[in-house]
């Protein structure tokens, strides 16, 4: 049981997470793309809000994207993917004040389902109100944890 085969197997098993894990730069790039998708979804919702006859199918599709991202984003900030790893607007406070950051992320996770619920009622005024709340959660976090645009 302690032969070279076993040791090799252990070594390979230990390496799997290392091989699978993205580099910090890859994580930053993926994070950027995730948030870009989120931005597109927000624009799509806003476009429908301003349309004279909103497409509730499109609204639901994009509200679901936002809803999923609101949960998934809690995995998008592993340690070591801040400014020390590469060019990013993510501020070091994300990692130095983890409980504050968690609360800020939770605000979106709390509000995004309400946007989806409002979309399902097909009441565009309710959608507008929920959109404003959800956007407010984005802004709340960005004000503290994202550096201003250059």
């Amino acid at each position: 049981m302690q032969g070279p085969m076993f040791r090799s197997a252990v070594l390979v098993a230990l390496m799997i997470p290392v091989v699978n894990a993205a580099t910090p730069l890859e994580t930053q790039k993926a994070r950027h793309e995730h948030y870009e998708e989120l931005g597109k979804a927000f624009k799509a919702v806003r476009d429908q809000m301003n349309a004279s006859s909103p497409d509730f199918g499109a609204l639901q599709k994009n509200a679901e994207v936002i809803n999923e991202a609101s949960v998934n984003q809690q995995q998008w900030f592993p340690k070591g993917t801040g400014p020390e790893a590469g060019k990013t607007r993510a501020l070091p406070e994300i990692w130095s004040k983890p409980s504050d950051f968690e609360a800020a992320q939770k605000m979106l996770a709390d509000r995004a389902p309400k946007l989806l619920a409002a979309v399902k009622t097909k009441d565009i005024d309710a959608v507008k109100a929920a959109f404003k709340d959800t956007g407010g959660a984005c802004k709340n976090c960005h004000d503290t944890f994202r550096s201003p645009e250059e």
Partner: protein, 226 residues
């Protein structure tokens, strides 16, 4: 001091009508306000400010075609020969823009128009704030418009600075009260007095206001009326 002490008797005549002056100073205020609201993330106000600038630009272009004499492009936009002639000093002082001032008006108006149009299509990085016409373009195109909106603002700022410096030169070095004239509309000229501004009728003003407000309203609604 008596009149006899003056080498030439001078009198004030009206050069700029009220709409031209009002547009000028409202643009000054709103460009500053737009900058402030953008810097401070007051995007609701920023949009309102931009709509107002849009209305003013539309009105000013209309006024350049149908407005008072000194506001009309045909009256003040000159070719290169006249501009060079002006620089060499062979230009009879007449009420209205000189050929260089004309270039300044055209450049600033064009930049302002470009800036407002780009803002109409701009989308912020989060897809939350956007100009009304961004609904017709992709997120990427809206982001590009936002990038250009920022670049053109820098160019506009440079031209405003140039405009202010040039006006400062005329006021300080050449003793021409240009700023005061843009405030109260009058300037002093030596006798024999040149023709003052020929104002446009109230009906034309009304048409311009309705046109500018109507176009702006439609753009702000993104042409969606339901």
């Amino acid at each position: 001091m008596t009149d006899a002490a003056l080498p030439v008797s001078r009198a004030r005549i009206r050069v700029w009508d009220v709409p031209t002056r009002l547009v000028h100073w409202l643009v000054v205020l709103l460009v500053a306000f737009s900058w402030w609201t953008a810097e401070n993330g007051r995007m609701e106000w920023h949009r309102w400010s931009g709509y107002t600038v849009l209305g003013l630009v539309i009105f000013r272009i209309y006024w350049g075609i149908a407005g008072s004499s000194t506001a009309r492009f045909r009256e003040f936009v000159r070719g290169p020969r006249a501009t060079v002639g002006y620089l060499k000093g062979s230009w009879a002082a007449a009420p209205g823009h000189n050929p260089l001032g004309a270039l300044s008006v055209i450049a600033l108006l064009a930049l302002l128009a470009a800036q407002v149009v780009l803002g109409l299509f701009a989308v912020d990085v989060d897809g939350i704030e956007s100009g009304p016409l961004s609904t017709y373009v992709s997120f990427e195109a809206g982001r590009a418009a936002a990038g250009w909106h920022e670049s053109v603002f820098n160019v506009l700022t440079a031209f405003i600075a140039l405009h202010v410096v040039a006006v400062g030169y005329y006021v300080v070095v050449r003793k021409q009260a240009l700023v005061a004239a843009m405030v109260h509309g009058k300037r002093a000229y030596p006798e024999p007095l040149p023709q003052p501004v020929r104002p446009a009728s109230f009906a034309r003003l009304l048409i311009g206001v309705v046109l500018a407000a109507g176009c702006t309203w439609m753009v702000a609604r993104a042409f969606q009326f339901g």
